[in-house]
Amino acid sequence: MTVPAFRMAGPPHIAPSGSVPAIMRSVLLALIPGTLAMILIFGWGVLINVLIAVAVALPCEALMLRLRNRPMEPFLQDGSAVVTAVLLALALPPLTPWWMPAVGVALALVLGKHLYGGLGFNPFNPAMVGYAALLVSFPGQMTVWLPPTIGPSGSLGLMDSLHYALSGSLRGGLELDALTQATPLDQIRTGLGLELTVGEIRTEPGFGLLAGAGWQWVNLLFLAGGAWLMHRRVIAWQIPMGVLLGLAVPALVFWTANPDQYAPPLLHLLSGGAMLAAFFIATDPVSAATTPRGRFCFGVGIGVLTWVIRTWGGYPDGIAFGVLLMNMAVPLIDRYTRPRIHGRGKPGPGTGERS
C-alpha cells in the first residue's frame, strides 16, 4: 500500500457554514418583495434608481480596491457594495435625475466605506452616509415623492421616467410639481403646523387604512422579507425588534396621551422607511453594535431617534440620522453591554475595544 501524503491544517476540520456573499445574496433576495411593491406603487423611477446605483457601485468599488491595492476578486464578489447601492437607491425619491443615485453611491462607498479601510472597518452605515450627504446637499430634490398609484406603469411611464432620470426634466414641458405629492409623514408635519388634528389629516388623500396609502404595503412587504431573514438567521432579532420598539413605544405613549397631536404607533411603523430601516439598514453588521444586548440598545436608539426627528425635527424622516448617530455610540454601547463570561461575575467595561 502506498503511503498517502496528508495535508496539514488546523482545526476545526469542517466546512464553514456561511459566507459573506451568501449573506449578501440573502439580503438582496429578501429585498425583492418590498422593491417590487415600490416599483408598482411609485413607478419605474425606483427601478431606474436601483439600476443606476448598482451600475455605479461596482466600478466605484473596483476603483477603490485598485487604489488601495486590495485583491479585486474576493471583495467584488462579496456583494456588500451591491447591497449598499440597493439600500441607498430604495431610500431615494422615485423620480430623481440620474446623478443623484450615482453621486450618492460614490459618496457612500468612497467616504462611507473605503476611506475607513473598506469592508469591516467602516464605523458608519455607508448607505446612510450617502443618503445623508445627498439630503444635506440637495434637500429640495430629496423630499419630492410621487403619489402612490397602483398600476403597472405608476404615475409615469417607463419612457417618461427614463427621460426624467437622464435629462432632469419631464417630457412635454410638464412641471414636476404637477406630479409630486408630499409623503404622509410630510403631510402630518405640515398639517400639524396648520393646527389640524392627526385625525383630520388622515382623511386627506394619500392615507390608507393603516398608514400612508401605498406606503403601508411597501412596509409590510419589507417586513415580510425581514422576517424571512430572521427566520433564516441571516440577521438576529435584536436590532429589528429594537428599532420597531424604539419607534412604537414613544409613539404609543404620546399618542395615548394626545391622539390629536401625535401620530399613532402603527402609522409610524408603516410609514416612510421604517421597515426597510429596521430589517435592512440598521442591521448592517459592520457599523452596528456587536454584543447581543448592545444590538438591542442600538436598535432602540435608532427607533427612538427616528421618532424624535419625525415628531419634532426638521426632516420628514429621521432614519438616516438616527442610524448615523447610533453608529457613533457603538463603541460605547459595545463596551457596556459585554456578556457575562461563563463562570465569572458581572463584566466590567474592560479595556478591549476596536481600534
Binding site: 459573506v20 449573506i23 476596536r354
Partner: protein
C-alpha cells in the same frame, strides 16, 4: 430517575456522521508485528523506561515507570523490546517522545505478576482503589488524557459530591464511547460505581447524547445489576460542545464552575465512559490499560468501524483493518473534526488518548479559503459556549500584543472551534485564540519557569533517594549473601526494588499540591 436538565449558552448543531462507523460491530483490531508505545501520552513528564532493548515482556508488564503525576505504561502484548528511543507521536506540534518499540511474539499472553483481581471492590478502601487506578496507567480516555488518579485525588480533597460519567460524544464522526456503552454496558456502569467509591461521590450521573436509544436501553438494562450507588442516566441535547466538562456540568446541574476554579473545587468530577471501563478492568480484573476503542472513520475509509486497539498500534494497521483507504485521502485527523489535529503520517502509533482516526478527502475537508475581514456579524458570539465575544478577542489576538484579550476572557476559551465554523468571513478564529493564549501564557513565563524548576528539583530528589536506596539495598544484600552463602541468593529483588520506588513516588506525590484536572475536551 429523571435528571432535570439545564442549558448552556451558545453551541452549535452539527451533523452526527456516526452512522457509518456504528453500522459494524466493535471488533478487536489485529495484532501488529511492531508496536510503538510512547512513554508520554498526555501532558506532563514522560515515564521512565522500565525495560531495555532485548528484554522480553508480556501483556501488562510494566514498560514505563510512573513519574510524578504521570501514571505507568504497560506492554500492550507479549514480545521482545527492540529498542527504547525517541519516536514521533501524534501531537499537534509533531513532538517526539521516548517510546518502547516492541516486537509482538503473537502469543499475546498476560503477565503473571498482575495485581490481584478485586471482585469485591466495595470492601476496598477508596484510597486503595485510587492507587490501583494509578498503577493501571488509567488516564482520561476522552481526549485530554489527564491522569485519572490525579483527578480522583484532587477530588478527594474538598470532597466530591457529584461524579459525572461523560458519554456525550458531541463531535461529529466519533462513536467509540457509544460502541463501548453498547457492547460493555455492565462494565461501564461498574466502573462508574468504582470511581464513585474512589471519590466518595454521593451522586452519580451517566450522561449521553439524546437519540442514542440503543445505548440508553443497554445501559438501562444493566444499571440495576451489581453493587454500588444508584446511577442516574441523563440524555442531554445533542448540541456541540455538550460534552465539554464545564458545559456538561452546567447542563446537568445548572451551575457554572467559576472561571478561576476547576470542577473538583466545586465538588464535581467528570470522567469519560471509557475511563470508567478501564478503571473497572484495573480493579475487577487487575488488568492495566493496554488497549482502547478507536473509531476509524471518514469518507476516505472503506469500511468505517470501531476497533478495540492496543496502545502503540500504528495507525495504518487500524486503517487497513477498516478496509483501507478509498478515494483520495487528503487529511488524517486524530480526534474529532472540531478539536482534533491533523497528522502528516499514518505510521504514528495510537496512544491512550486516540479516540478517533478521521480520514477524509478534499470534499470533506475543503482547503482553507482566504479569510475576509471581520464584518462584526456576531455569529461567533452567538455560538460561543463561554459567552465570549470572539469578534473582539480577534482584534487583540491577531495584534502584536494580545494582553487586552486577557480581560476579555481569552484564557476562558475552551478551543471548541464553534466560532470558526460559523464565521462567514472564514476567519480561523480558534486558531488565532490558541496561538494568542500560548503567547499570554508565555508572558507568564517567569511563573511557569519557577514551577518547572520546582518540579525538576523534586524529580531529582526522587531519583537521588531512589539511587541511594538501591545502593543501600545492594550493600545490604551483598552483606547478607556473604553471611549466609548456602541459602537462596535472591530474596525477590524485584519486589524490594518495586517497594523502594513506590515509596519514593509516594513521597513525591505527597510533597506536591494535589493538582486538579481541567481537561476541557468535549470529545
Amino acid at each position: 430517575m429523571i435528571t432535570r436538565l439545564f442549558s448552556f449558552p451558545g453551541g452549535l448543531r452539527l451533523p452526527d456522521h456516526t452512522a457509518p462507523s456504528t453500522g459494524r460491530v466493535l471488533v478487536r483490531a489485529p495484532l501488529p508485528e511492531r508496536l510503538i508505545v510512547p512513554l508520554l501520552q498526555h501532558r506532563g513528564d514522560p515515564c521512565e523506561p522500565a525495560v531495555t532493548a532485548g528484554e522480553r515482556v508480556r501483556r501488562g508488564s510494566l514498560v514505563g515507570r510512573a513519574t510524578g503525576e504521570t501514571p505507568p505504561v504497560h506492554a500492550p502484548t507479549s514480545g521482545r523490546v527492540l529498542s527504547v528511543e525517541p519516536c514521533p507521536v501524534p501531537h499537534p506540534a509533531g513532538l517526539r517522545v521516548p517510546a518502547v518499540i516492541l516486537e509482538a511474539d503473537g502469543e499475546d499472553v498476560w503477565s503473571e505478576d498482575l495485581p490481584p483481581p478485586w471482585q469485591d471492590w466495595e470492601t476496598v478502601s477508596p484510597e486503595h482503589l485510587r492507587q490501583r487506578v494509578h498503577e493501571a496507567g488509567v488516564v482520561g480516555l476522552g481526549g485530554a488524557g489527564f491522569p485519572t488518579a490525579t483527578k480522583l485525588r484532587a477530588g478527594a480533597k474538598p470532597g466530591i459530591h457529584t461524579l459525572i460519567i461523560n458519554g456525550v460524544e458531541c463531535e461529529p464522526w466519533i462513536s467509540c464511547d457509544q460502541m463501548l456503552m453498547l457492547s460493555r454496558p455492565q462494565d461501564v456502569i461498574e466502573g462508574a460505581r468504582i470511581l464513585a467509591r474512589a471519590t466518595g461521590a454521593t451522586r452519580l450521573i451517566l450522561a449521553l447524547e439524546e437519540g442514542r436509544t440503543a445505548c440508553l436501553d443497554a445501559l438501562r438494562r444493566a444499571m440495576d445489576q451489581g453493587p454500588g450507588i444508584t446511577l442516574e442516566l441523563a440524555a442531554v441535547p445533542a448540541r456541540y460542545p455538550a460534552g465539554g466538562e464545564r458545559q456538561l456540568i452546567q447542563t446537568l446541574t445548572g451551575r457554572e464552575v467559576p472561571s478561576a476554579n476547576l470542577p473538583p473545587d466545586m465538588g464535581f468530577l467528570c470522567q469519560n465512559v471509557a475511563t470508567a471501563a478501564a478503571a473497572r478492568d484495573a480493579v475487577v480484573l487487575g488488568r492495566p490499560l493496554t488497549s482502547r476503542v478507536v473509531t476509524v472513520t471518514g469518507n476516505a475509509v472503506a469500511a468505517p468501524q470501531n476497533l478495540e486497539a492496543r496502545i502503540g498500534t500504528p495507525m495504518h494497521t487500524l486503517i487497513e483493518a477498516a478496509g483501507g483507504y478509498c478515494g483520495t485521502p487528503e487529511r488524517l485527523v486524530m480526534g474529532g473534526p472540531m478539536m482534533g489535529f491533523a497528522l502528516d503520517s499514518d505510521r504514528l502509533p495510537i496512544t491512550k488518548t486516540s479516540n478517533c482516526l478521521l480520514v477524509g478527502d478534499g470534499a470533506l475537508f475543503p482547503a482553507e479559503a482566504p479569510a475576509m475581514p471581520c464584518i462584526r456579524c456576531g455569529a461567533c458570539a452567538e455560538v460561543c459556549p463561554v459567552r465570549l465575544l470572539p469578534q473582539e478577542l480577534y482584534w487583540h489576538a491577531r495584534s502584536e500584543r494580545p494582553e487586552p484579550a486577557r480581560d476579555l476572557g481569552l484564557l476562558d476559551c475552551i478551543d471548541c472551534g464553534a466560532c470558526a465554523v460559523v464565521c462567514p468571513s472564514r476567519i480561523p478564529l480558534s486558531q488565532y485564540f490558541r496561538y494568542a493564549k500560548s503567547e499570554l501564557q508565555a508572558t507568564d513565563r517567569a511563573h511557569v519557569q519557577a514551577e518547572q524548576a520546582r518540579r525538576r528539583y523534586l524529580l531529582r530528589q526522587d531519583r537521588l533517594t531512589r539511587e541511594q536506596q538501591a545502593q543501600e539495598e545492594r550493600r545490604r544484600r551483598k552483606k547478607a549473601a556473604l553471611r549466609q552463602p548456602a541459602t537462596n541468593r535472591s530474596p525477590d529483588p524485584k519486589a524490594a526494588r518495586q517497594a523502594a520506588i513506590q515509596a519514593a513516588v509516594e513521597r513525591a506525590k505527597r510533597k506536591k499540591a494535589g493538582a486538579g484536572g481541567d481537561g476541557n475536551d468535549p470529545a
